[in-house]
Every structure is written in structure tokens, then in C-alpha cells.
Symmetry: C2
Subunit: 153 residues, 2 copies
């Protein structure tokens, strides 16, 4: 396995994501949210709430950092915290009604904002790309946690 066959796809992944970020971040900021805040809103969307632990795992934000990010979202009245009934150590974070509205207000337009670029690919190409990306993601997650396949949910 020569490295030449790894580098091109690694480079394209980074570049493609950067291009996506460029298109995405300015749109997110126009709603008064930072990218990590938006990430949390999207992660909480269509759920019944997630614990800090779950949120940290899904968003790649470490626990100390997460407290601050959630605090700011609470101040903005976009999320609220509740005690977990089955484990008193755990706190459940969920969107408020206002947070739900923000989710709808941002996510759908955000999709619309990004759609033209994605629409440049044929449906078959998009489908193929999504499959390959999922394949790579699974491999990356396995590499990160080689002894814990159950975490690759």
C-alpha cells in the first residue's frame, strides 16, 4: 500500500470539507450562532434530549468545553437542562420550544443554502459519495477505537 494512494483522498476530504465550511460557517454566523453552538443545536434536533456525555461524544467537544458551550445556549434560551431520572450524576440537555424553532429556522434554510452545490452532482454520484464516505467513516472510527466496536454506532 504505497502512500500515494492515501494522500489524494485524504487531501480531497480536507479540501472538500473546507469548501463546505466556507459556505456553511458564514451562514451559521448570520444567525448569531458559532459553529459549535450550531453543531449542538443540530445534534439535539429531532431527539428527546441527550446527556452531556452523549453530546460530547457526538460533537467531539470535551466535557469542560461543553459546559461553556451549553451555558451560552441556555443563556440564549435555546436549550434547557433536566436531571436524569435514572442517574443523578447525569444531566439531560434538550431544545426549548425556542430552540426547536431555531433548529427549523436555520437547518432547512441552511440545507437550501448548500443545496445548489450538492445539486451539481448527479443523484447517482451523490449516492455513491455518501456510501464511500460512510465506509471511510467506519474505518476511521475503528482506527480510533480498535478495541471497542460497539462505539461505532
Amino acid at each position: 500500500m504505497p502512500k500515494e494512494t492515501v494522500l489524494p483522498v485524504l487531501r480531497e476530504l480536507v479540501r472538500c470539507y473546507q469548501a463546505f465550511e466556507r459556505l456553511s460557517a458564514s451562514n451559521i454566523r448570520s444567525f448569531g450562532l458559532t459553529p459549535p453552538q450550531f453543531d449542538i443545536i443540530v445534534t439535539l434536533g429531532n431527539t428527546q434530549g441527550l446527556s452531556f456525555k452523549e453530546l460530547g461524544e457526538r460533537s467531539l467537544i470535551t466535557k469542560g468545553t461543553l459546559t461553556g458551550v451549553i451555558d451560552r445556549l441556555v443563556e440564549k434560551r435555546l436549550v434547557q437542562c433536566a436531571l436524569c431520572r435514572t442517574d443523578a450524576r447525569s444531566k439531560i440537555v434538550r431544545l426549548t420550544a425556542s430552540g426547536e424553532r431555531m433548529f427549523e429556522k436555520i437547518f432547512v434554510p441552511h440545507l437550501e443554502h448548500c443545496r445548489p452545490a450538492f445539486a451539481a452532482l448527479t443523484p447517482a454520484a451523490r449516492s455513491q459519495l455518501a456510501s464511500r464516505l460512510a465506509e471511510l467513516r467506519n474505518a476511521l472510527e475503528s482506527a480510533a477505537q480498535p478495541c471497542d466496536e460497539s462505539a461505532v454506532a
Copy 2:
């Protein structure tokens, strides 16, 4: 074009990149660099130096922020600045000899660090993924700057 065909690939792009970040960032930090600093080092690698403007465009770091990032790399003796001979407003940033060594020392092992995951895909799948990502990147860049094709270098 129903949105259902856009969302899956968008989601997979984000998730796949997050998985890559998880694997990549900890490795980068183990060398005492932050991700933006690593980004600059890699961007400068194998070049004769780039202006602040070029660096900002390639790395998505805005100019005010970039000054600070470069300052820290100068303090670490990894990059140096020189005046541009053709435009006195412009400053050229390039790797020092120490920066070149850092580039070699990090980039190749970083590739090695990431390789096992990428090796899980067949060469054909990697090649296909790289092509699709490039295709999407072009579309994203065109969407961001619909009237300036020349910037899509």
C-alpha cells in the same frame, strides 16, 4: 431535486470529517501544534513561501486571526517573514529550516497514523471517493464565488 438526496451526503461529509478530525487532532497536538498551526505548516510545505493573503485564502483564516497564528509560529521559529519584492504591502511567509524539519517530522508520520483507516477501502474505492470529493469541492467553491471562476484554482 428533493432535499432527501442532499441531506445524506451532507451528513456523511460532516460525520466522516469529524471522524478524521478525531484521529488527526490528537496526533497533531502531540507535536505541540494546534490544528490551525498545523494547517499553515502543511500549506507552506513544498512551496517557496506564500503571502498572508494567499495563506488566508487557502486556510480559511481571516487576516486579523492569521497575524496571531503566524506570530506564534514565528515565536516557535517554524516560519519566517520576508518582504515581497514586487509589492511592499505584502509579506511572504515561509518555513524555516526548522519548520521544514517539523513538516517532514509530522506530515509523514501523520499520514502513517491515518493510513490504516484509509487502507480499509479498496484502491478503486479510494480513487472513486477522491474524484467525487473533488467534484463536490468544485461545486462548493463555485457556489461560494459564483462570479469569480479564476479563484477556483
